[in-house]
Amino acid sequence: MNNSISRREFFSSFVANARGSFASEKTEKQTTQNVVFPPGAQNYLENCNQCNDCISVCPHEAIRVFHGDDEQFAGYPVIEPRTQACYFCEDFPCIESCDTGALVKTKNIKLGLAEIIENNCLPYNGHICRSCVNNCPFPEQAIYCDAEGKPVVNENICNGCGVCVQVCPSDKIGIRIKFMEEKICLSQVS
């Protein structure tokens, strides 16, 4: 690549950034409803000692400290897919870094399950959109469009990575990741 391309690239990334900042978007507040635990969470609220090692090794900065108002999750490392979904690294550095047993490597790691919020999802309201399906790492499998173009989650394949939540272009998010065993999680919480 010669000089003039790089100069142009510099310039245009400036333009793109400028446009991006014009088009900035307010971020949502974290709640127990819009975060999930990092990969391999086991009895997480009891086992995790909040050492934050998983946060420091996450290459995609997906794991962050919970900073919502809810006290039950306060200080725990969590993933808020709307900000950054989990990319399911092959070697799971987060799990490797955990020595308290809060994150454990198991065969089928799932963070949770995607769940369409029909009131907010564009195709359920007469518009055509397939961002979740197009961007899913298992497109047409974990989530697919039905005959009417509405996205449907296949709970057997979805691993709750949250890419669909991150990319959803609806004003009000049309999809969320619910905890795998929401009841257990919530009972832990309460």
């Binding site: 446009r19 088009a23 197009n134 469009c145 959803c168």
Partner: protein, 761 residues
């Protein structure tokens, strides 16, 4: 021109509407007033994005566009919209809108007045014209400009300045389809309409990712298939796309090697008795490079394209080709839809011809549910540029610069001497930008498009844009092209101007002016008119005070032509959801199928003749002889840059659902940026494993024209040996790596195939 004038013009055109609003009367159908819907006024219009031509309702409150919804009465989309259109109001109100003219001084673009900017352009253009002749000037327009805008540009450049160097970006997307329709069917644009979708039994989607590029068409196909499980869908595409969701059969050719497949399908259709011999005998002629041939010669020609030979050339299993042909033959009705995968090719016209062949030899044309139907990419590529004559060899209303009678007719309407219009076609897009590089063209006016990013091998053409005098009229700032502009003029955006868009299905639809242009922005047609006046054509441009005057003059030129729009007056267009030409009179409802009963031109001129000859169609277009369509014998031809050991991968490009073109509009909606924030390269998992490239890794794509870094998306979409990059992002302008070789007939560049290699960054 001063601010005062603009305001007056605005008031003039909107006075009627505001008067009506004041007394609470609905003047324009499709418009409801404040008291009826919570303070929001809804105005019937057309979507600003792709060529489908969806009806939208523009929600305006207190002089601001606040919302967009689908128009439920519009037959194109029945109220449905894709996610892009849903956020269109964000583009209208974007902070990237340009509000004042700018002039480059000491290397920097600085704010100026209209007076100063237009004076400078007029003086400079006149100097160039005087010193180097009219052909040293050029106009580069857009399939997104309104018909009225292109009409003004045509008059100024072809009629007054006297150069045919008038082009538009449809050269980069639709020219091969035009060439295909003209050479095969004798006249440009499809025979049927979208309503054939609901009547078709088989869809052949060739080189079209319909689900993402034309979402509403895809939705119609999908609904139709759900209701009628016997409907089958065959896809021909080197890449698995979201469109595959509905596919019954997918053929994966190597990019650029599909011509043989069409010929092989034709061979199977004839060999297995699916050909319509009666239709062939009465309606068709066979041609090759040497002229008219008989049917036997065609059959002999096809012997070179057995499915097995086609398999060797294309990489698609012979069994699949046979299966596809049989599905096509067995289906009572079939519709082929295609777009850039066939058009943006070194042999784009041939690919188009071969698709038409399939429909012609089986008689699957001119019947409800059967059509060879080209999808357009831009909202007014058909209306403004193909019909409006915005290319270097055309004049408005399907007239040609090479025909003396056409020049005389148009010159008379324009009020200019016929000798002003040059008899030779001007330079096509690539030749035009090459001439700009070489300094043969010294001044260029660019309207509503972003060639610095969108041209193939784009970097090569930055030189000319930088060195010569370039004027850019644009609603958004900055773009890659304004970086090179000497003068940037703020153009009124969609909703801030009225005019007509003509979509894929020959449908012309009216768009109202809803709010005043932002800042000092001005309607493109008025900018061109005022520039014309300043250049000394005061008399020629005096009469164009409203859009309707321009439209009526243009409409007059279509009288008696195959694209007769005489019945499409503004009054009528404001009431209806578009009219499909030919529509010769104000009481004519518009035409469903051309060249057959029900088409007013056929009924009045050719029905009797056809009846005598026992025919059901008469291809009366200007390029057809004796009313017959042409089956072309087009051989296989390699792409301009085949893959080799040095560059082993085929690079192909395309769209994603959430973004459009160079993102000046979709980039303003944070929701759309969130959905697809960055460019990426799709790599087949097997190729990725062989190159030990992991998902999300940074890789560098290299072609003979340069290199660029992308994030790898390892996914089972492109066929092995092919990589795919969406082309929208300004910071990753993949078109810089595309080849600028072009089709010798249509002059459309081969964006879809380039040889590339990939390495880890």
């Amino acid at each position: 021109m001063s601010k005062k004038y603009t305001r007056r013009e605005f008031i003039k055109t909107s006075a009627a509407a505001s008067a009506a609003a004041g007394i609470g009367v609905s003047l324009f159908p499709g418009m409801t007033f404040a008291n009826q819907s919570g303070g929001t006024n809804w105005h019937k219009s057309v979507c600003r994005y792709c060529g489908v031509g969806c009806g939208v309702m523009i929600g305006e409150k207190a002089g601001k566009i606040i919302s967009i919804k689908g128009d439920e009465l519009n037959t194109v989309n029945n109220g449905h919209l894709c996610v892009k259109a849903f956020y269109l109001h964000k583009a209208v109100n974007s902070k990237t809108r340009l509000h004042h003219p700018m002039i480059r001084k000491n290397g920097k673009l600085v704010k100026s007045s209209w007076e100063e900017a237009l004076d400078l352009v007029a003086t400079k253009f006149n100097e160039i014209r005087k010193a180097n002749g009219g052909n040293a000037l050029a106009f580069y327009g857009s399939g997104q400009g309104e018909t009225e805008e292109t009409y003004m540009a045509n008059k100024l450049f072809k009629g007054c300045i006297g150069t045919n160097n008038v082009e538009g970006n449809p050269r980069l997307c639709m020219a091969s389809a035009v060439g295909g329709y003209l050479s095969s069917l004798g006249a440009d644009e499809p025979v049927g309409l979208y309503e054939d979708i609901e009547k078709a039994e088989l869809f052949f989607l060739a080189g079209s990712n319909t689900a993402e590029a034309h979402p509403i068409i895809f939705e119609r196909i999908m609904r139709h298939k759900t209701r009628n499980p016997n409907v089958k869908i065959v896809i021909l595409d080197p890449r698995k796309t979201p469109t595959d969701q509905v596919a019954d059969l997918h053929l994966f050719p190597k990019p650029g090697y599909d011509l043989a497949i069409f010929n092989a399908m034709a061979k199977v259709l004839i060999d297995e008795g699916y050909a319509d011999d009666d239709f062939i005998a009465k309606h068709l002629v066979m041609k090759n490079g040497d002229g008219v041939q008989d049917f036997e010669t065609y059959k002999k020609f096809l012997n070179d394209y057995t499915p097995e030979i086609a398999e060797k050339i294309s990489g698609v299993p012979a069994q699949d080709i046979i299966k596809a042909a049989r599905m096509f033959g067995k289906a009572k009705t079939a519709m082929t839809l295609w777009t850039m995968g066939l058009n943006q090719r070194k042999r784009g016209v041939w690919a188009n011809n071969l698709v038409h062949n399939l429909h012609l030899i089986t008689g699957k044309i001119g019947v409800p549910g059967s059509d060879s139907f080209s999808l357009t990419g831009q909202p007014n590529a058909c209306g403004g540029v193909r019909e409006g004559g915005g290319l270097c060899h055309l004049l408005p209303g399907h007239h040609l610069v090479v025909k003396e009678a056409h020049r005389a007719k148009v010159a008379k309407v324009w009020g200019v001497p016929a000798s002003n219009i040059q008899p030779k076609p001007g330079k096509h897009t690539i030749a035009m930008f090459s001439a700009l590089n070489e300094g043969e063209i010294k001044g260029m006016y660019i309207m509503c498009t972003n060639p610095a990013q969108s041209l193939p091998n784009a970097k090569k053409y930055w030189k000319g844009l930088k060195e010569q005098f370039v004027v850019v009229a644009e609603s958004f700032y900055p773009t890659m092209t304004t970086e090179y502009a000497d003068v940037v003029l703020p153009a009124a955006f969609w909703t801030e101007k009225e005019g007509v868009y003509g979509c894929t299905e020959r449908r012309s639809q009216y768009m109202p002016l809803v709010v005043a242009p932002q800042g000092q922005a001005k309607w493109d047609a008025f900018i061109l008119r005022d520039l014309g006046k300043k250049m000394g054509f005061e008399k020629e441009f005096a009469k164009y005070e409203t859009a309707e005057i321009m439209w009526d003059e243009y409409r007059g030129l279509t009288k008696g032509k195959d694209m007769n729009l005489m019945g499409a007056s503004y009054d009528r267009l404001k009431k209806v959801r578009g009219l499909t030409w030919p529509v010769p009179t104000e009481d004519h409802p518009g035409t469903y199928k051309r060249f057959m009963a029900g088409d007013p031109i056929y009924d009045s001129k050719f029905a009797e003749l056809a009846k005598k000859e026992g025919r059901r169609m008469y291809f009366y277009g200007p390029k057809a002889k004796d009313g017959k369509a042409t089956v072309w014998m087009r051989p296989h031809d390699d792409p301009a840059e085949p893959t080799d050991s040095e560059y082993p991968l085929a690079l192909t490009t395309g769209r994603v659902l959430e973004h459009w073109h160079t993102m000046t509009m979709t980039g303003t909606a944070p929701e759309l940026n969130r959905a697809v924030p960055n460019a990426y390269v799709e790599i087949n998992p097997i190729d990725a494993r062989n190159m030990s490239i992991k998902n999300k890794e940074q890789v560098v794509i290299e072609t003979r024209r340069g290199s660029m870094q992308f994030e790898a998306r390892v996914i089972d979409r492109p066929v092995q040996g092919t990589i795919f990059v969406p082309w929208h992002w300004e910071n990753k302008p993949i078109n810089v790596l595309c080849i600028d070789a072009f089709d010798p007939g249509s002059k459309e560049p081969e964006y879809k195939v380039a040889a590339a290699r990939i390495r880890k960054a």
